[in-house]
Symmetry: C2
Subunit: 229 residues, 2 copies
């Protein structure tokens, strides 16, 4: 069967969606080939076939799956002979807790650190939509949302402590090799890396070295996406 | 080898330490027998041999291990033929992330919901120490710390969402049977159950049914500790 992966893109086909990156890493981990369909912010009609409007979506033969977690479970169950995303049945539920923890606790702290910079990486045709929808969400101009970000970095770094407590002692959350448990925070930091030059994680933080290892994983799929200048 | 488990106790040998419960469940999961040494708040000298003053501590032959996570790893490595606490190598690191998430995010929200009630369950000889040390920590009388707790329940329940997202669909975080990943939040809720009659988790919350299943696990070791009246 042929897989098609629908992922969000910005200017110059730049891909920074934190949910898209979860799926991109999962496909890389499974070693699955796929055709890529890039979807701009204003091209949500491309996803109509999935019954909703958010990336990531995959179409595998006749099967359509949206939501990054649902995609991870689908890939694990459909391609059991490929490297396991979770390591074990027990690891599947544990990875889901970690995914939810990152999505609810760490991920919401990132926009106020990068959002105005991110706008500069949005395709010009989508810029008005991006800015007006985000300004409506935050209730103020994006430059104001981002202002004073230096003072908010410490809280974001502190929120990463449950993961730091593990990867300071071993290469990845699951041990010697990456598992899906690594992907949510990786994806959040990759969103920041591709969307803004602002450095969130200091070079001497164990999270920094762990992120570097994940950028290099799977033939460097993460590093292949250029960092924001 | 014979294991001795040093756990905190209150009035009538009541055991409510949230770290002690992590270890108690781990020992039950492994099916290991042990002698119990109860330690009152004012009997910390009983732990001097461990080089620190906090429960839980286990002594296994000549080996002394303190810190609930270190004990979990010790038991897993020393008794590999017993049921695995983590399910897999990958699950060990994932469970550690979850343990740290609960300890840092959920556990600190509990004292202001139960602390004055908990004092009523402390041994009379330890009460002055307990109250003065806690009042110093919070900077006000324990009744004032606890006042208005109804307004803080929602935040505590919301903090449990990463775990709820998993156990609403399956019996335990790791699937059909408990793993160590369940024990940190179980232990926190058991601390509350044994220390206060205040109901934090509503009966219709999936967390409530999950907690009930864990109270029944391992021949009901959790339920054997009476709830606070």
């Amino acid at each position: 069967m042929a897989i098609t992966f629908y992922d969000l893109c910005g200017k110059n086909q730049k891909r920074f969606s934190p949910f898209g990156w979860r799926t991109r890493m999962a496909l890389a981990h499974k070693g699955l080939d796929y055709s890529l369909e890039l979807v701009k912010f204003t091209e949500k009609q491309k996803l109509e076939f999935s019954g909703q409007s958010l990336v990531p979506v995959i179409k595998d033969g006749e099967t359509v799956v949206n939501d990054s977690w649902a995609i991870a479970e689908y890939l694990e169950d459909t391609y059991p002979d490929r490297p396991s995303l979770f390591g074990s049945t027990e690891g599947r539920g544990m990875a889901k807790v970690i995914d939810n923890f990152v999505t609810r606790t760490i991920q919401p702290m990132i926009p106020s650190l990068i959002i105005a910079d991110l706008a500069a990486n949005v395709d010009s045709g989508c810029l008005e939509y991006f800015v007006s929808s985000r300004e409506k969400r935050f209730g103020k101009p994006l430059t104001e949302v981002q202002a004073g970000r230096e003072g908010r970095v410490e809280a974001a770094l502190k929120a990463m402590e449950p993961i730091r407590a593990v990867i300071k002692d071993q290469p990845f959350i699951g041990g010697e090799t990456p598992t899906y448990a690594d992907f949510p925070l990786f994806a959040v930091l990759q969103w920041a890396r591709c969307g803004s030059p602002f450095q969130i994680v200091p070079a001497d933080d164990p999270i920094h070295a762990w992120f570097d290892r994940l950028l290099d994983a799977y033939h460097g799929v993460g590093r292949s996406e250029p960092a924001a200048a």
